[in-house]
Subunit: 359 residues, 2 copies
DNA sequence: CTGTTAGCGCGTTCAT
DNA sequence: ATGAACGCGCTAACAG
């Protein structure tokens, strides 16, 4: 690469720009000092309108782009926010990230994303990497995280917000919804339909508070109805259609298989539908299937998957608001719980044994 | 915030760390100079194993995290890569980004993502924002971009690679697949099944080379078969199930509606299936429907959506390889075209008029 | 193999 | 309202 600029030379408008223009170049072009250029960009009201116009014209001519690293080094703010999510598959967390980004971009923040593929140690290391890159604040998914992660955030004084879960008693700021209430309501609905034998299809609950809370909601509803969940009717699997379908197939082979199977998200629900389809089990006549998160994947199945609509987009916007408020020194809430809503479709119906008597 | 460090004081291991440790702190702790600390971190082989061990121990004790902004400012590399995609919805581009990130993270790069929602002016402005943040290189989706974008990249000497399209004659490095060939092959398949009246469901082709190429592939196959595409059988719509369903409903209302409708991606294909379902049109008996990209959304429909598998994950990995090679000064190819493959499911069948004679 | 020195580009004093 | 001078934390260049 050619070094086109020699010490003291002026970078004229029509120069071949092999080196990017600096604030000093802009200053010379406008006949002011670099301090004034900085002021025009960061606190324009503190500079005379005429000089301001001259500077902005020079900025335009030289197509000056401030050097973010230098700015960050000096001002100790990078205007970057880290979003650390489990995965982009199935567009679940991606939709939250997208909403976060939309809101933050409007305030000139950029979003740096990283996936950890449901590995909390990996989550810790990507967060460290992002801190090194200087991100000002973080959004994480879920309430379960490595203690070392919180220590790291504390040590580096980085604001953060946990999402996709809501716990008023948590010491960590969180914005989400009541995962247990979602499945609790769903289970009550199924119990009212006469179901007594339930199955659960879930992600591994260890280190995954969403899966754990969603399972707990089901268990609580059953307990309240004097029922219980047979351990043989529980299957944990990775979050993928294939794995969910395989797990559901196992449940269907059981001699006393459940009449209602609750998936802790729509991927499990749809995987269950696929298994039923392949094995010739009729839904909802023979068995009822439900999901959580109300995705288009579930909505478009036949039968349509009964699910719980979770406010995953709103969570992203609210997380952005929260972080902006903190970075600007404004007040903020420690916990925000947004409502969920059951969405009834045709994958649920009366329990088989009771069909006749309920008609 | 308390300033815990006074000039010249040593930051001991058990100090309350209110200020993050700097390379100088590590150097003092290890009894070396800050330059040696830098060397241990950036070219460890150039430092004596004993000193290296002492430095690393100090790094560990002080939980030192290098200051990325200072490093970027000095070394003129940020170790950040920008990934600018149209959208995260439907996990299409998200899967490519995810693969890119997986590969780049392994080389200590972080990925900064931004969406432009199919707006090339917005794309230009987010790219400028990312340059300001100092990203070293870019991945973009598609071959169509604002000329100003390329000027900006050129001016700032940022390597970039275009993806999801392959054009050997393009001056811009690109990694993707032959979008026209995908729909061309699909159309030939449908023609062989006896179809003569085709419909096209597509994203707005202006400024969207994928949509344009996919439409062109269909047109070419028809031309080669002595057929043509009736303008009334073409519908452009935003990429969403709702919009696709509405557009398809219009086609179905036509007196001489097509017997085969090609969606330029699976979202259009599934939207078309939904419209048929709602209006009681049988697939594939009354009409054949196809998509592109072979998503699980299409795969799980009934009937399963015939589609074209595009190597969107491989494109992400290859893009990462390409950028790493360039950033490390190694050689690289200007164009890489990966193969696509038809995936036959049950949304396609013989054209209605020919059913009897073909059996 | 290691230390000294200088400066990356900006924002922020403190002057005027 | 504007300019001069300094330093953020790090790494490249050079010397030893």
């Amino acid at each position: 690469m050619v070094k086109a600029r020699s010490a003291g030379s002026r970078l004229l408008v029509d120069d071949a720009q092999v080196v990017r223009a600096s604030a000093l170049d802009v200053a010379r072009q406008a006949g002011v000092s670099s301090a004034t250029v900085s002021r025009v960009l960061n606190s324009p009201e503190r500079v005379d309108p005429h000089t301001r116009a001259r500077v902005l014209e020079a900025v335009r001519q030289l197509r000056y782009v401030p050097h973010g690293a230098a700015r960050s080094l000096r001002s100790r703010r990078s205007w970057m926010i880290g979003a650390v999510v489990p995965s982009f598959e199935y567009a679940l967390y991606a939709r939250t990230t997208s909403a976060l980004q939309r809101r933050l971009n409007a305030q000139a923040y950029s979003v740096v994303v990283a996936e950890h593929h449901y590995d909390l140690a990996k989550e810790m290391s990507v967060a460290a990497q992002l801190i090194e890159h200087g991100v000002d604040a973080f959004m994480f998914v879920g309430l379960d995280h490595a203690p070392e992660l919180f220590a790291l955030l504390e040590e580096h004084q980085r604001p953060y917000v946990l999402t996709w879960g809501a716990d008023p008693r948590s010491p960590h700021p969180n914005i989400g919804f009541d995962n247990a209430a979602a499945t609790h309501a769903m289970a009550r609905h199924l119990i009212a339909l006469g179901h007594r034998r339930f199955g659960l299809l879930s992600a591994e609950p260890q280190h995954n508070d969403r899966a754990r809370a969603r399972g707990a909601g089901l268990r609580r509803a059953l307990r309240e109805a004097g029922l219980s969940l047979d351990a043989r009717h529980i299957r944990y699997a990775p979050i993928s259609l294939r794995a969910a379908e395989a797990a559901m197939s196992e449940l269907l082979m059981l001699p006393d298989r459940p009449t209602a199977v609750l998936g802790t998200n729509d991927v499990f629900g749809v995987g269950a539908l696929l298994a039923c389809r392949r094995l010739g089990v009729r839904v909802p006549e023979d068995i009822s299937i439900t999901g959580v998160d109300n995705t288009e994947l579930g909505e478009t199945q036949q039968p349509g998957l009964t699910s719980v609509a979770t406010p995953i987009v709103e969570v992203g916007s609210a997380a952005a608001e929260h972080l902006i408020a903190r970075l600007e020194g404004r007040g903020w809430e420690r916990c925000l719980s947004l409502p969920v809503q059951l969405v009834f479709r045709t994958s649920t119906g009366p329990a088989p044994k009771l069909r006749r008597s309920m008609r």
